[in-house]
Symmetry: C2
Subunit: 262 residues, 2 copies
DNA sequence: GCTCGATTGCGTACGCTATACGCAGTTCTA
DNA sequence: TAGAACTGCGTATAGCGTACGCAATCGAGC
């Protein structure tokens, strides 16, 4: 399920130099290693066109409607033709995800402190998800290896370059923030999609109140009474709240390392 | 896609009292409202048995293998029989998720401070996910309304009862931690599943090193050199790291409210 | 006790999915 | 010019969720 390897399908890109062992063929393709052999009829498509068509379909009809047949139709080719470029639907999704991320913002640890840098980074990821809501439905089943994914990782580490954090802690921090942004984006997207013109949040408070038995649930009842469950303009504030809390937590860790010595 | 309502299918439970408007029928069923009418043949199954069979299948074969046919087979009934108890597969998943959560730990704000309480809460959710890894693959497409879900929400709010946080902030905190735990659990499960006896983390560092072009990526190269990408015993530490950071962030917010006045 | 309608389990059917396999046509190399 | 390599893609398979309708069953009202 995780690492398809050793497959000898047509889409594995049977280049001349030996493919790095353990490296998914689709990743080699994405990094531009592995040139095509010269013999045979000219190809009618490119990997980029296939991926772009997939994104097009996902954008307009959602990732649920994305099928190989639908993508092939978009390109005006037969369904099975796609398998000359991509060895499985999973590969297509992996590439679509990496493409959707785009390039990370330029981060210069000399010009911005870690907090500004990580904020910029988080907002960049959020913007990418906002541009490509379908990417939230693509399960992340392997460590990030696509070119854009790796570039984003580099950017996050660079933002923390001037902190006293250990490399391990920098990675953990990146993982924490990356997961947070994905979660918050998913929540926002779900809430926006769930409400078909109607707000769901006001309803949620009402529904809860109706469900609760007469006794018990004092804390929840207090929350309902406060109206906190009825405001739905705070969906965006949720992101800021969470990010501030996490960054404050990182700041506390950095302070443990002692006074700043730049 | 989000709110199925108004459907007049058999599984909607055509009780005598009017179903609360806007409340998904499956939720009424889960809370035990809505009694069955008396006429007609006795039912051969119960909703609980259907849900339990679903969990059984998901546990042993993964949620990917969970189909209505498979669940029906497990119960020794025809596939379509299930639709007398559940109006769609989504309903089954919703109920399975709520059941998998189980009851939250008892939290008494008088006996534990908010930090202990929230830690207990987070570890409880993590344990539930560890017991039911399949639940991580069930997309959360609606605000939590199941009985167990609501009980967990109450528990989280109760843990924060003695803090100066606003109700809004308590909810945001709960959302933040809940999302974090789900994320971290997913990561752990993916890593554990991806490695079929082989560790993936050591490979990841190697793979990255092989992918990177000769120039650029200084920060990432430093991380690789440090060996931080090669240790895979830190998968569990990731959870502790993230939770500590988040709780520190909440602590900072609480301190902004001024000195403690118990 | 009998009838009638509500409710049951479930067989059949439909449209959809991913993709394995193999064939015919194209194009470059020797 | 021969042959090998590679192309697009038609066909076929096994599986999915679920709409529909029918025969059997059971309780309520007379």
């Amino acid at each position: 399920m995780a690492g398809r390897e050793g497959g000898s399908g047509p889409a594995d890109g049977a280049g001349e130099q030996p493919a790095p062992p353990g490296l998914p063929p689709i990743i080699s393709l994405a990094w531009g290693l592995q040139q095509r052999p010269a013999r045979g009829p000219r190809r009618g498509l490119t990997l980029e066109r296939v991926v772009a068509a997939g994104i097009e379909v996902a954008l307009t009809e959602g990732v649920g409607a994305l099928s190989m047949a639908r993508v092939a139709n978009e390109l005006g080719v037969g369904t099975m033709s796609l398998y000359r470029y991509v060895s499985a639907k999973d590969d297509l999704l992996t590439l679509m995800f990496d493409t959707a991320l785009g390039r990370p913002p330029a981060i210069d640890p000399a010009a911005q402190d870690w907090r500004e840098g990580l904020t910029l980074w988080a907002e960049g990821v959020r913007a990418a998800y906002r541009r490509n809501p379908w990417a939230l439905r693509v399960p992340i089943s392997a460590p990030p290896l696509g070119p854009n994914n790796v570039a984003w990782l580099e950017a996050a580490l660079r933002a923390q370059a001037n902190t006293p954090l250990s490399e391990q802690e920098k990675l953990s921090t990146t993982l924490l923030i990356s997961g947070f942004v994905r979660n918050e984006s998913t929540l926002t997207a779900d809430l926006a999609a769930g409400a078909g013109g109607e707000q769901v949040m006001p309803k949620y408070g009402e529904l809860l109140a109706r469900l609760l038995p007469d006794s018990g649930f004092p804390a929840l009842r207090r929350a309902i009474a406060s109206g906190a469950l009825s405001d739905d303009d705070d969906i965006d504030n949720e992101f800021d709240f969470g990010l501030l809390r996490i960054l404050d937590g990182i700041a506390a860790l950095i302070e443990e390392y002692g006074p700043v010595t730049p």
